[in-house]
Each structure stands twice: as C-alpha cells, then as structure tokens.
Amino acid sequence: MIHKYKLCGYNIVLDINSGAVHVVDELVYDMLDNISPPFEASCSERVANKLSRFYDKEEIITCYEEIRKLHESGTLFSEDDYEKFTEQSADAPLKAMCLIVEQDCNLRCEYCFAEAGKYGFDECAAMDFKVGKKAIDFLIKNSKERKNLEIDFFGGEPLMNFEVVKKITEYARSKGKRAGKIIRFTLTTNGILLDDEKINFINKEMSNVVLSLDGRKETNDRVRKRLDGTGCYDKAISEFKTLADRRGHENYYIRGTFTKYNLDFTSDVYHLYEQGFDQISIEPVIGKPDMPCAVSDRDLPRIFSEYEILAKRILADKKRGKGFNFFHFMLDLDQGPCAIKRLRGCGAGSEYVAVTPDGGIYPCHQFAGFPEYKMGSVLDGEMDKALKKTFAGSHIYSKSDCVDCWAKFYCSGGCNANNYIFNGDIRMPHRFSCLIQKKRLECAIMMKAALADEV
C-alpha cells in the first residue's frame, strides 16, 4: 500500500509497510497513478504514451526504472506481512497504571470528558492510601518480568488529594525498589493548587508532568472555569512558569484543547510558546456533538488549514534554529517504536489499566465508570481475563477500517475509548478523529521532508 499527497510544494509518497518516506518529482507522482506491481522490465507503451503528453520520453524511462528499483528493494509497494505478529505480546504483562486519585475537580471545564469528575459514577470520590497501596501491589505483581513501570496520577484534579499522592509515591518507590522495578511517575494538573511545596515535590518525584491550559487568556477562560465561573488562566500560567523553570524546562508538557471557539489555535500554541513553554500539545475537543463548544465535520476544512498554518510557521522557526516541540508534529521516522508496538498502540486494558478510588480496575481512565468495562478490583487483586483478551485483540488487523488505512502504523488504530463512546464498539474507529489524525500526520511528514531538503 502506498499513500501519496502534495503539501507545501512537496510531493510525498509513503510506502506504508516498509515505513519508507519518499519525496518525488511530478513525473513519479503522476506515474504512480498509472502503474502498480507486478512490474515489467520496462514501462508499458500505454503508460509511456499517456505520460508523454506532459513529460519527456527519456525521463519516463528512467523514472520507471527508479520506481521498479524501489519496489525491488522493498521500499515501494512492499508487502503487508505483519498480521502474523498480532499474537505477539497479546498476553503482555501490565506495565502502566493510571490512578484516579481524586475524582473531584476545582474547575468546571465545558468539555470535561469526566463530567467534572463523576465519570460514570453517581458521586465523586477520593482514593485513600489503603486502596492506593493495593493498586501498587497489583501493578507490581502483574508486571511480572517487566522492569520499567509507569504510574500516572490523574483526576479530577489529583492535587486535591495531595497527601495521598505523596504517600502512594513513597510506597511505590520502596516497594518497587525491593521488587527490582524502575517506576516512572507522571502527574496531570490544572495548576490551581500548585504552591512551592507541591512544585518541589512534583519536580523531585515526577518523571513527567502534564500541565493543562488552553492557550490565550480569553481562549482558556471561556471554557476552563472555576466553580464560581471565573477563569483560571492567571493562576495556572504563573505556577506553570515557576514549575517549568525549576525543572529546567525538561520532561513536562503543557497541553490544551481547542474548541469551536478557537479554530485559530495556532495563536494559542504560539501564545504558550511566547510565555516560555517549549513542549506544547493542543488537541481538538472530543465530545458529544450537542456540546456547545464541540467541533464538527463542518469545521474540518478550517481545522485542516489551521494545521497547515501551524506547520508552516513552526517550520519557518525551525529553519531559523528556533522553535519548540508541538506534540502532534513530532515524528521519528527512523527510531520510532517497533512494528509490534504499532499494531495496538496504547495497550489499554492489556498493558495499561486505570484504577478508580473504590479500587475498580478499568481498561483506561476513559472507561472508568462504565460498568460493562469494569475488569475487577485491586482490593481482591482479581482481574477479568476475558476483557484483557478482548483489548489485547483490538489491533489494526481486527479493526476493519484500519486494515486498509494508510495511517495504520503511525496511528495504531486510534483510541479504543473514543471508538466505544462514539460508535459503541472499541474496534470501530471514530471517523472524525481519524481525519484529524491523518491531516496531522501529513503535516508532520511534510515537515520532515522540508527539513531534509535543507541538508
């Protein structure tokens, strides 16, 4: 399978199964519309005649030869022979856990997927240390031979239960050490409760920290509000600056959401950059269509062009030796994850689970509170093997839309939770997210092509 597209003056051809990225001239681009394997020794007369209306005959011959060689070397029209690997790592041990330490939140963001912390539950709850300990024990036991483990403090707002976060961290450190594990912690916060003590704790203990803010003050405060309706920008940004400065601007990122209200989100990304942040992620709001700030199919052309604007601007900065990391344009074309990893992406429900304050185990934070996806409880340490199997079996070859999708090895089949929430089936990709995913990939790959052009 190949995918070809034009963007910002580049003609790009992706060979999906080998991962090759080719930048080609017009002739190759057009010829690829007319030929496919098996290849004869020379270009057929029909194709040569057709193209000779626009291109030189000699050029057509050399061009055909180049395409044939690429095919021979396995970097064009290469075979898809990965399905046989889908069983590999299907019964992989657990390696990551999201601890929903506090369901409640001190903000009421318009687009919150957790419904202000309730998730699917009737009420918000906070995790106590006892449950936290059980969760850590569960992770360490079920991680078997895996050495590197991840624990993610999530909410609601996890800092509303800071004492428990501290205790769990300490417990996990000592227990992990005894078990020979390396545990990396992450915490996601909206910044409202940050102070010196918490910043110092986070910077000492968390390998990564995720700071939630949507960009410009007016963008942010329109949707990210406190209980009294006031915006949270001023407090959050000042604490985030201190936090990022004190950790030397390493291993953090600031993440935001764009909605129908700020389809010009390039300005929000650049606002964050101008405030001194250099690890930035801004994502489209994903929510029910009846949400007032929701983006819809109608907004897609605007969103696509905004991604192009952003890509060009970042590229121009990069060429001047400046700039920052925008998460969705970061792509490592050579050293990225192995093909096995790319078959199923996030690993929710198999390598990764979320634990709620009552000890419930769910495939991930987004499934928390869906009774049909409760996998067990850390209190008795039992986990439903059938659900784990279902999730391990959710890979690009079991999702019919993904099998023929050019983005499959970059995307890995998208988000199972989104698929379930929107389509009622973890294996049915959420089309809107797919379209955005593909646009971002096209931009990211184009940027690589443009930078390769420099050398």
Binding site: N17, S18, G19, A20, V21, H22, V23, V24, D25, L27, V28, T62, C63, E66, I67, L70, T75, S78, D81, Y82, Q88, A92, P93, A96, E150, D152, R184, R255, S281, E283, V285, I286, F327, H328, D332, L333, D334, Q335, G336, P337, C338, A339, I340, K341, R342, G345, C346, G347, E351, Y352, C364, H365, Q366, Y410, C411, S412, G414, C415, A449, A452
Partner: protein
C-alpha cells in the same frame, strides 16, 4: 536517484523481527492524556543502546 529522494531508513520490517520487548512507555493518544501519536514515541531499547554507545567504555 534523480526523481526520488528517500528521507528515512524504512526499517519497519526489521523492527517486527527484533521488537516487541515492551520496554517502551505506554502511550495514551487521547486528548485528555499524553495525546501523542504512537509514532512520535521512542523505542526504549534503541535509546538505551545509543546511551551505551555514547558513554565511555
């Protein structure tokens, strides 16, 4: 090549044979979390290898 410039190693197939060790980070790609595409992740094994190569013997 005159008409084509290939800008990467195209080594996905090899990684299927050598990969699957599971040392790498889990990677939620949803908006509310790390929100990264899988492809922007690093292969932890390769990172470790590179570190070894760089550090003096």
């Amino acid at each position: 090549m005159k008409h084509v410039k290939t800008i990467n190693e195209a080594n996905l197939k090899e990684t299927a044979e050598t990969g699957g060790c599971g040392k790498c980070q889990a990677s939620c790609q949803s908006a509310c979390k790390t929100s990264c595409t899988v492809a922007n992740q690093k292969c932890e094994s390769k990172v470790q290898e590179n570190q070894k190569l760089k550090s003096p013997a």
